[in-house]
């Protein structure tokens, strides 16, 4: 199997992730509930993970790190906290349904800062032109479809200048780009644990500057007599027993990222992206969506002329290649890039993809196309 769907889930993990999950399942009880040793072991593990996340993403106090099920969960908490019917929300033209659907559900008036693919200056200009009308801005750091790196640092500065709160979707950035919560000054920043942080599925983080409105209510192990959720973080957003084995895996994944550094991971992914690009760029049957240096992460969308992307992905799957096809839950991004009618094939990299696998994939793709002549 050649696994190239890391933007959905990083399937190949550091060995410590599975090991620590198993250990947690065998040793850890419910955190924040009992005071016995198995419960306290769980609590300590959860706290270590919180501290690690706070250090990695520059959150001044670890209380402001909330565990979620995934980035979608975190974005729902954030949007539910700041949006009500009629709130004017400015978003990029590259947002995922995890942003647009909760906004629609909350009754927001959505304004889109449209800009061409891989054009950071136009993107910033589009935000600047409309921010005067916005009561909230939501922006992804990286397009999940094209790997387009949006100028979020500059967009965040624009928000601060205009007094507009910001929600950041770091789903495709955490683990490869510098995610500095303090410097961005965002109200909320959401990320999954199961992509670039190499945690298991069912884990995510929400970094909070504001207390926000709980999405779920239930037991938190704190202030049990009160019938409202606690008014302090992180308990306010952590109803019910936490995914302790998941958090153990996430901690191991973040330790891997910290040790290797996001910069080095991105460099490795860029090297693989270049290799893919060099190998496929000459082939006129393939349309690659490549950006200039500094505008693309380790995600590459492409189309095959005259061939449906889902069919192509199916044929590649028969040959052992795992990549994603279709709209990638981001129709808005496709509308911005002009690919809504076809969708794209998307390959997404990780440090666990080898150059040999990339060469083999490119060879298989060319063979597949030759066979269809």
């Amino acid at each position: 199997m050649i696994y190239l769907d890391n933007a959905a889930t990083s399937l190949i993990k550091p060995a410590a992730v599975g090991r620590e999950m198993l250990r947690a399942m065998q040793c850890c009880a419910s955190p924040g509930r009992g005071g016995h040793s198995a419960a306290m072991r769980a609590s300590e593990l959860v706290y270590r993970c919180r501290e690690k996340a706070a250090a990695l993403f520059h959150v001044p106090e670890s209380e402001n790190v909330v565990f979620t099920m995934n980035a979608t969960h975190g974005l729902n908490v954030a949007i539910n906290s700041l949006v009500s019917k009629g709130t004017r929300v400015l978003i990029s033209g590259y947002e995922h349904n995890a942003v647009t659907r909760p906004l629609k559900k909350a009754g927001a008036e959505i304004l889109v800062a449209r800009s061409p693919l891989f054009d950071q200056a136009s993107c910033l200009r589009a935000f600047r032109e409309q921010i005067g009308r916005a009561q909230l801005l939501v922006c992804t750091m990286v397009s999940n479809v094209f790997g387009f790196i949006l100028p979020v640092r500059e967009i965040a500065a624009l928000c601060r200048e205009n007094g507009v709160p910001l929600i950041v979707d770091a789903s495709q950035a955490a683990g490869t780009l510098d995610v500095d919560f303090e410097a961005l000054g965002a109200a909320f920043l959401a990320m999954p644990g199961h992509k670039g942080l190499f945690g298991p599925q069912g884990t995510g983080l929400l970094l909070c500057r504001k207390k926000g409105t709980p999405l779920l209510a239930g037991g938190s192990g704190s202030d049990s007599i009160l019938q409202e959720m606690p008014d302090y973080l992180p308990d306010r957003h952590e109803a019910g027993t936490q995914n302790v084995p998941g958090i153990a895996g996430l901690l191991a994944g973040m330790e891997y990222v910290e040790q290797k550094t996001p910069r080095a991971i991105l460099e490795e992914e860029h090297a693989l992206l270049r290799l893919t690009g060099e190998s496929l760029a000459e082939d006129e049957r393939i349309e690659l969506f490549r950006g200039p240096d500094g505008t693309q992460s380790g995600v590459l969308s492409f189309r095959i002329r005259g061939m449906d992307c889902d069919e192509a992905a199916g044929l590649l799957s028969e040959r052992g290649v795992c990549l994603r096809s279709g709209l990638h839950c981001a129709p808005l991004a496709h509308r911005s890039a002009g690919t809504l009618d076809t969708g794209t094939l998307r390959l997404s990299l990780s440090p666990f993809v080898s150059r040999e696998e990339i060469r083999a994939f490119c060879g298989m793709l060319r063979e597949l196309l030759d066979g269809l002549r």
């Binding site: 955190p31 924040g32 509930r33 009992g34 005071g35 306290m40 609590s43 300590e44 706290y47 919180r50 501290e51 106090e61 670890s62 209380e63 192990g221 704190s222 202030d223 049990s224 007599i225 009160l226 606690p230 302090y232 973080l233 992180p234 308990d235």
Partner: protein
């Protein structure tokens, strides 16, 4: 003498205990006795000595904590007033 520093949340208690242990004060997180909690379950930091120093460390580190209690030999708790701390 056992002291309990009440904390608003488990995470808060963990942060407080970490600040203290980093500065060489033995402290651990414990479940707070129900009799000391107005709103039900919660956690506290337990320590046996250097309370004055601990209070200063937590204040300087801006870790918000609640009331402080001293456990008497009969098992009852008595609040340590601010004025009792030699700051």
């Amino acid at each position: 003498m056992k002291y309990l520093i009440m904390c608003k949340s488990l995470t808060n208690a963990q942060r407080a205990a970490l600040e203290l242990t980093r500065r060489g004060i033995d402290a651990s997180v414990v479940k707070a006795p129900q009799s000391l909690r107005e709103n039900g379950c919660g956690y506290a930091v337990s320590l046996y000595r250097r309370l004055d120093e601990a209070a200063v460390i937590l204040r300087d580190a801006r870790v918000l904590t609640g009331r402080i209690y001293r456990r008497a030999d009969d098992g009852s708790y008595r609040e340590v007033e601010d004025r009792d701390l030699s700051r």
